[in-house]
């Protein structure tokens, strides 16, 4: 029982760290796209794609822990 609890805790910690890292990297990338892109459409597309894919992968991680 305690093994399951500790494994679950580790997974949650990894999930939290991954989520924070994803957001931090996303903010940094978004800053670069918005600041340096010469095409105003590209930052929107890039932020959107990064956000959607990251959200799906984080959801997959979340689902794995809950399951």
């Amino acid at each position: 029982m305690s093994e399951i609890v500790s494994l679950s805790a580790v997974l949650w910690v990894v999930f939290g760290a991954a989520a924070v890292l994803t957001v931090v990297v996303g903010v940094i990338l978004a800053y670069h796209w918005l600041r340096y892109s010469m095409n105003p459409f590209m930052p929107v597309l890039a932020v959107g794609t990064y956000g959607v894919v990251s959200f799906l992968l984080l959801s997959l991680m979340f689902g794995s822990i809950v399951a």
Binding site: L11, H32, S37, S54, A67
Partner: protein, 403 residues
């Protein structure tokens, strides 16, 4: 500003080019392969029947690990694509920019003026480059070799080379045309000045001859004033050609700005009094190295004369203030003021203000442009301050003091 590139007024982007897409494929291929490796191994386990050995309790953990792995690969890919997307070569009419994004926090922008570029070298090195039509392009200047002057993976580099060489050719043609035009302006200016000077002499003789019928005398005096203005305008235009090329000739001496200001003010005092304006002058002794005549005639007198012309009632104050190693000459009036629209083109060629037609019909729009050129040739600054139309204005000239 264009993606953090500061283009000069009138400068336009002709070509904007990123590295060939095959470079992006090459850079991402390794990451994608590493990313897929665990899944290929998992597929191999399933196909060889070893998957059954994995306990069911471990499946959610494996699923979680897969998601973490995919997320890591996804972030790595995002970084690579960003790096690729932000690397760019830009060619404008005047310059070539090479922007290199190195990682997330290092960004280099190298710029070469067209007039500095001596040669553009293009190289296609191998089968892949030949097949996909990309290669290396290098800018060569008269200076030492610049590491940033080489860009790899540029699609159709020979086309970019052709565009740059065409622009260099255009600049050469423009310089030649400008030289011819300036020569023409000088020639016409000198011709016109010659005729106007003869007219001025003739009118002066008529005006000074006694007895002359009062009507003729009056007409001659008016014509003389107008002709002298014409001579002054032509002289302004002729003077403007040299500073425009950055080759203004200054007869530099050490002189006291206070004395020069008083001379300029005394010269224009009658004009101010005729218009019922109070003209005051106060300056501390301040010595500068410079061309006293050009500063007095083209800068100070011009500013005071403008202040008189644009002030219908009130006063004009000319003040010399020492601040640090500089003297600031403030010419303050209570006149028409300067609108924010006029302020932007105040010191530009032909930049006469909106009030010029009614208040200063003789304005050629060159006076302040010339004054700026002369002040800057003395390593000084000139600017104007005004709260707006009808609020008066202050023109400030700042010149470095000498010991």
């Amino acid at each position: 500003m264009n993606g953090q590139i500061h283009l000069e007024p009138g400068e336009h982007i002709i070509v904007k080019v990123r590295k060939h897409w095959i470079i992006l494929v090459r850079d991402t291929m390794g990451t994608v392969a590493v990313g897929l490796l665990p899944f290929i191994l998992a597929a191999a386990l399933v196909l060889t029947g070893h998957a059954a050995l994995i306990p069911n309790t471990l499946l959610p953990v494996l699923s979680f690990a897969s998601a973490v792995w995919l997320l890591t690969i996804w972030m790595a890919l995002a970084l690579i694509v960003t790096d690729y997307y932000l690397d760019i070569w830009i060619v404008t009419e005047r310059r070539v920019y090479n922007i290199e994004q190195q990682g997330l926090f290092e960004r280099q922008v190298a710029t070469w003026s067209m007039d500095r570029i001596q040669e553009i070298t293009v190289r296609t090195s191998n089968v892949v480059e030949t097949l996909f039509g990309y290669g290396t392009i290098q800018v060569e200047t008269a200076g030492p070799t610049d590491a940033n002057a080489i860009a790899h993976g540029i699609p159709h580099p020979e086309r970019i080379r052709a565009v740059i060489l065409k622009q260099i050719g255009h600049i050469g043609e423009l310089e030649e045309t400008t030289k011819k035009q300036e020569g023409l302006i000088h020639m016409i200016g000198h011709e016109v000045k010659g005729y106007l000077t003869k007219d001025a002499a003739a009118f002066s003789n008529i005006a000074e001859t006694d007895p002359v019928p009062p009507v003729i005398k009056h007409v001659a005096e008016d014509a003389l004033v107008e002709t002298r203005k014409g001579v002054s305008t032509v002289m302004n235009i002729l003077d403007s050609a040299d500073p425009h090329n950055g080759t203004v000739l200054l007869a530099t001496t050490r002189f006291n700005v206070a004395t020069t200001l008083r001379t300029a003010v005394d010269f224009l005092r009658r004009d101010a009094e005729k218009r019922g304006l109070l003209l005051t002058c106060d300056s501390a002794d301040a010595y500068v190295n410079g061309d006293e005549v050009k500063l007095r005639e083209i800068v100070f007198r011009n500013l005071i004369d403008n202040a008189i012309r644009y002030t219908q009632k009130g006063s004009i104050d000319v003040r010399g203030l020492i601040t640090g190693g500089f003297i600031q000459i403030h010419v303050t009036d209570t006149g028409a003021g300067i609108s924010s629209e006029d302020m932007t083109r105040l010191f530009t060629e032909g930049g006469a203000g909106t009030n010029a037609k009614s208040l200063n019909p003789e304005s050629t729009g060159f006076g302040l442009f010339l004054a700026k050129q002369i002040v800057e040739a003395h390593r000084g600054r000139i600017w104007a301050e005004s709260k707006g139309a009808g609020q008066g204005a202050t023109f400030i000239v700042e010149l470095p003091l000498t010991a």
